[in-house]
């Protein structure tokens, strides 16, 4: 297989009328990489993807695909294919016609079209559906067809705009695996938009977390999860969500300590990004990192609510200072509201954020 193209966005600015959606955005997608754009609704993910596809005009900046400046190119000349959130299948065409339309427009010989449609249909297991209309398909089948329509184009870069968001949980999990398999088989570069963090964490080589038009963090899923760069990333990624406790950092007996929520947590195990910053801060800890059991810094917490989640349960407690937090216990564990247990926040697993700008400390 020949080298796949990378995608590079340089200082992109996009406006709708007078509304600025993206500004000064830079993004490098490596060849064959699976990059996920993750962010809340309205943060500009689709806009960014459309810009790569050439479907919205950029006010400033450049877009490079495969080492070629395509900023002024038409969508069809960019070597991309796109799968849309709403499927966007042509309603008056059969599945076969839907998939072959682009090739026909490009003047591909009929035999070649036939071959490619057959190939894609087999890959996506939609062979028996080829002569149906989109209206005669289920949601999952439509989505497969939409992916098939992109596949037959045989390009180096595939763009997915929330392709699974209209499907139920089970189908989503199923197609997620299929997309992952596709990526491994094709080795193509893929940019995948979603606001579903599970999709992001499972599919991505790297995740770009976006918030109001700005990429907050671009990193591997593991690092995004373990070392969120700021409070937004920390709170957006992870389910159940990270706990936050407001307080302050100070140096006591030449060791950093976090005090807040009625707790005093020595930060011996925490790796600071720079020098120890004394002052107001927010401590974040994921529910599964809260440990239960005797420890030097443990405090006693009363269980308020238990949420069973199958394999484990989410248990809600309060710090002595009254801040609610959750922790994850494997199994049901026989925990009931009112129970008391020793709980500690291991400093190696916490994240600290500046109070002012939410940046990781």
């Amino acid at each position: 297989m020949n080298a796949q193209p990378g995608v590079s966005l340089r200082d992109i600015k996009i406006m709708f009328g007078t509304v600025k959606v993206l500004e000064g955005l830079d993004l490098e997608v490596a060849p064959s990489e699976f990059l996920v754009l993750l962010g809340p609704s309205g943060c500009g993910k689709s806009t960014l993807l459309n810009a790569v596809a050439g479907l919205v005009e950029v006010r400033a900046g450049q877009i490079w695909i495969g080492g070629k400046n395509v900023t002024w190119e038409e969508p069809k000349d960019r070597g991309i294919a796109m799968v849309f959130q709403s499927y966007a299948l042509y309603p008056r065409m059969t599945v076969r016609q839907n998939m072959s339309f682009g090739l026909k427009v490009a003047g591909t010989p009929a035999a070649e079209i036939e071959r490619r449609v057959g190939e894609a249909a087999e890959l996506l297991r939609i062979g028996p559906l080829l002569d149906r209309r989109p209206s005669e398909l289920s949601g999952g089948q439509r989505q497969r067809v939409a992916i098939g329509r992109a596949l037959v184009r045989k390009v180096g870069v595939y763009l997915f705009d929330e392709p699974l968001s209209n499907l139920d949980a089970q189908l989503r999990a199923e197609l997620r695996v299929e997309i992952k398999r596709l990526h491994q088989q094709l080795g193509a570069t893929m940019i995948y938009v979603t606001h579903d963090q599970i999709e992001a964490l499972t599919l991505a080589d790297r995740i770009a977390v976006m918030h109001s038009g700005v990429i907050q963090q671009l990193d591997t899923p593991a690092r995004i999860y373990r070392e969120p760069k700021n409070r937004f990333v920390a709170s957006f990624v992870g389910s159940p969500a990270m706990n936050f406790i407001d307080g302050a950092i100070s140096t006591q007996a030449s060791a950093p300590v976090f005090e807040g929520g009625g707790l005093r947590i020595p930060l011996a195990g925490y790796v600071f990004a720079a020098d120890v910053p004394a002052g107001p801060a927010t401590l974040g800890i994921r529910p599964e990192h809260v440990t239960v059991g005797p420890a030097p810094s443990a405090f006693e917490a009363a269980v308020e609510i238990v949420e069973p989640m199958g394999a484990d349960s989410l248990v809600w407690c309060r710090t002595p200072g009254g801040t609610a937090f959750s922790l994850r216990l494997s199994g049901e564990g026989g925990i009931r509201p009112g129970d008391r247990m020793p709980v500690s926040f291991p400093s190696a697993a916490v994240s600290l954020f500046a109070k002012a700008d939410g940046a990781r400390l």
Binding site: N50, G54, L55, R92, M93, V105, R149
Partner: protein, 297 residues
Amino acid sequence: MSAGNTAIPAGPRPDRTSAARWGLYAFLAISALFFLTPLYVMIVTSLKSMDEIRAGYILQFPAEFTVAAWTKAWNSACTGLNCNGIKVGFFNSVRILVPSVIVSIAVGSLTGYALSLWRVRGADVIFGALMVVAFIPYQVFIYPLVRIFSMAGINQTLFGIVVIHTIFGLPTMTLLFRNYFASLPPDLFKAARVDGAGFFQIFWSIMLPMAVPMIVVAMILQVTGIWNDFILGLVFAGRENLPMTVQLNNIVNSTQGERAYNVDMAATMLTALVPLAVYFGSGRWFVRGIAAGAVKG
């Protein structure tokens, strides 16, 4: 809670036809009668002989049915010195109608498509201008257009009248199609662009097949509108191509001596036949047509 209402609600709700409902029915019946009476008079008159009409009972059923008036109206009614019947006008109208409907819908759907999906420079201005034009009484445009057409040498020709109908149909047709295309999911258009289709390919292969319901509505609006047109045909079509409506007027107004009411009625009904057929033939589409037309005002 009233004491008498003791039934436990279960199953279908009992049918309660109130006095108000009966009043409504009565009103509807009277309205229907009001509009049907003239039609009834026209039909029976057209089927009577002149002798019977002279007797003066206009509501009376024909004692003796005769279609003589209809054949006369069709074949030999006179306008001035020509006595070839209204069929001349009928075929003129058909010759005006068919190209006008096709061309106006083709142009209107294309402009509607361009204005809704492509970022045409000044699309808003163009669209605004079209809407303003749609609200100006078109009599205002007639004289300037006559001058322009004369200069272009297409005044009083079939071509000229087709152009006129296309122009005057443009605002409505554009609005109709623009609104329809603008209501489609934008991703569809984007997908087609990614697939590499151009302006006309997207229009022809994707948009037009989806717009079939709108085309039907547009045809209903245009067929009835153009068929019923009088003044544009009179001014622009030329003596050779006068549409049926104009000829009907000539027949009804140019009779010398005794007025042949039965022939007039028959000719009128013949003229109304095409829109009538459209009304009855298109059923639910027609309601949509009215709703769409309502936008224009």
